[in-house]
Symmetry: C2
Subunit: 113 residues, 2 copies
């Protein structure tokens, strides 16, 4: 009675809760204002802990911790140069993901109507 609701839906959409465990873990790591900003910066260049922390207006040790988390997910890699440590993006998908996020949530993001 109501109208014909669900499309035929041949088979159940692939995936299961279990399959999303890793995805959720990495997404959760990304889901922090400072870490999103750090990723945005690193998609545009290569920066040290101090530079990133300064931009985000947080102490260096806090920045270092955020970078550690992002690195643990495989999003970033670090490279020591003298006493500084440079971080850069290691995950190719990050750019595309960031495009989605910027497009949806940032002031100047892509419009969608």
């Amino acid at each position: 009675m109501t109208r014909n609701r669900n499309p035929p839906q041949a088979t159940k959409p692939f995936g299961s809760v279990r399959d999303f465990a890793k995805a959720a873990e990495c997404l959760k790591t990304l889901a922090h204002p400072v870490r999103l900003r750090i990723v945005q910066m690193l998609l545009h260049g290569r920066y040290t802990v101090g530079e990133l922390a300064a931009d985000c207006e947080i102490p260096d040790n806090v920045g270092s911790e955020h970078l550690r988390l992002l690195q643990r997910c495989g999003f970033l890699v670090s490279e020591r140069e003298g006493r500084k440590v440079y971080y850069q993006v290691a995950e190719p998908h990050l750019q595309q993901l960031m495009n989605c996020i910027e497009g949806r949530f940032l002031p100047g993001g892509a419009k969608h109507r």
Copy 2:
């Protein structure tokens, strides 16, 4: 004298930690295995609380709570029909975001090399 590292980088990448507050909040909501699975399901059709909870193998009230969170971010909307409540996707960007996530993290996802 390492090589020339940072690209010229005319201006600082737009955005700031503050601008990512909302994005982080919504991303965090998405960053849960059950909620990712629910979103995936709802991108393929229209389901009730009970159907979604059953698929995720969780009690109905827990499912209801996850749906509430997703709805609060504007990702979903609900519609009551008799004693059942159907949920469906309300945010157009979800499909694109999910494509990124599935492509990166799901077994059969897109390869990148």
